[in-house]
Symmetry: C2
Subunit: 228 residues, 2 copies
């Protein structure tokens, strides 16, 4: 690869700056979880599994290319599977990182929060919510009005990101459905490259919950089913 | 008082049904807090203080009458200070109780959630948010879209309650300001009486944070300053 400078060491990826100004994401074999069990919703590194980085890269590239083909703007430039790297456009994130979650069914933290009002697994009509990346505060939920008063997003930006998220989720859910799987929820991230809003980060087993015939697909098994 | 049937035993009030169909709120001398210290944001009963019930009733009546005079619809009918009771219109709450919070400054749980993005005590432009009354889940925040997908409020109802909350908060903040005090935040509750949206519950020291010359006014001292 080009001469690259380490910019940020993440839990599952390192980020480098390339000489052309692009970023290089190096996918690691570390996955989040608790006590050795993979849990995409967890905030800690739970274990390391040989080959996971490449699998997540391959899945990300697959979805980024599919989304680009559908007219969605993403940060994806090119990938190198052998090196487990993805070259992307540099982007400015919102605050210290804003996660945009689209839920098609009530599981995970949504069900933990609102279990008084909904059955686990009940359908949600592409419900979108945003949380701050903040491990110390357990990724707090933030409303549209909250993002506005905190100066993170304008109301208009919130609405655009919400609609884009629903479009993206629809495309990914549609692809999984063709392969006999159902997307329950997905976590996306957006940023600005110059004045353009882009889908950034990765799109892989660690960012989504997928079920098949009502049974949860362990993230480590998703890749095999997707590329069967 | 009329023949009354106990409907609900609350932390700081008991609710009875009267023969005329109205509810009777009996204010108790118990206040929420932790380890013997009064904290309006706490979910547990911390201590019992002689006369607190009557003081909170008097303050509630004062604000309900002021709000009614300004055209706000409330559940208030009449009060009996000696008995520490308030007669109100019966109202159907949202879900198992929805708290509507209006914040003029970033303190309390808002600052705890978003401390990465705002200074403690910074001004907020009448920011409104809603949380479910759910002690076990620590009163979870819920967005406009969340309330819609859970079937608790329509988007239109959310917008009406938000605007009504800002109006009410403005009136209460204005009254406190005339008396040299500043309202930082307030927690309201709404319900339907037949088809009419009403401000319900109480409006007292336990529902708001008030400061004077930058110093927090202990809830137990608010009444004396308000009626000085």
């Amino acid at each position: 690869m080009d001469k690259a400078t380490l910019l940020y060491e993440g839990k599952t990826k390192n980020v480098y700056v390339l000489e052309n100004g692009h970023y290089l994401l190096k996918f690691k074999d570390d996955v989040t979880g608790e006590k050795g069990v993979f849990d995409p919703g967890a905030n800690n590194i739970g274990l390391s599994i040989e080959g996971v980085g490449r699998k997540n890269l391959r899945m990300s590239v697959f979805f980024f290319e599919k989304l680009e083909a559908a007219g969605i703007k993403t940060h994806f430039v090119r990938s190198d599977l052998d090196e487990a790297t993805m070259e992307v456009l540099p982007a400015k994130v919102f605050g210290r990182g804003l996660e945009v979650i689209c839920r098609r069914r009530a599981v995970g933290s949504f069900f933990r929060r609102y279990g008084d009002y909904i059955e686990e697994g009940a359908s949600l009509p592409l419900y979108v919510e945003m949380t701050f990346k903040d491990d110390d505060r357990d990724d707090p939920l933030v409303t549209r009005d909250g993002l506005v008063v905190l100066g993170i997003l304008s109301g208009r930006e919130y609405d655009v990101i919400k609609e884009e998220t629903r479009k993206i989720t629809g495309i990914i859910a549609g692809d999984l459905l063709e392969k006999g799987m159902e997307l329950y929820d997905i976590k996306l991230e957006f940023g600005y490259h110059r004045d353009e809003l882009l889908l950034i980060d990765e799109i892989s087993s660690g960012n989504m919950r997928v079920y098949k015939e009502g049974k949860y697909i362990e993230p480590l098994n998703l890749s095999a089913l997707l590329f069967a």
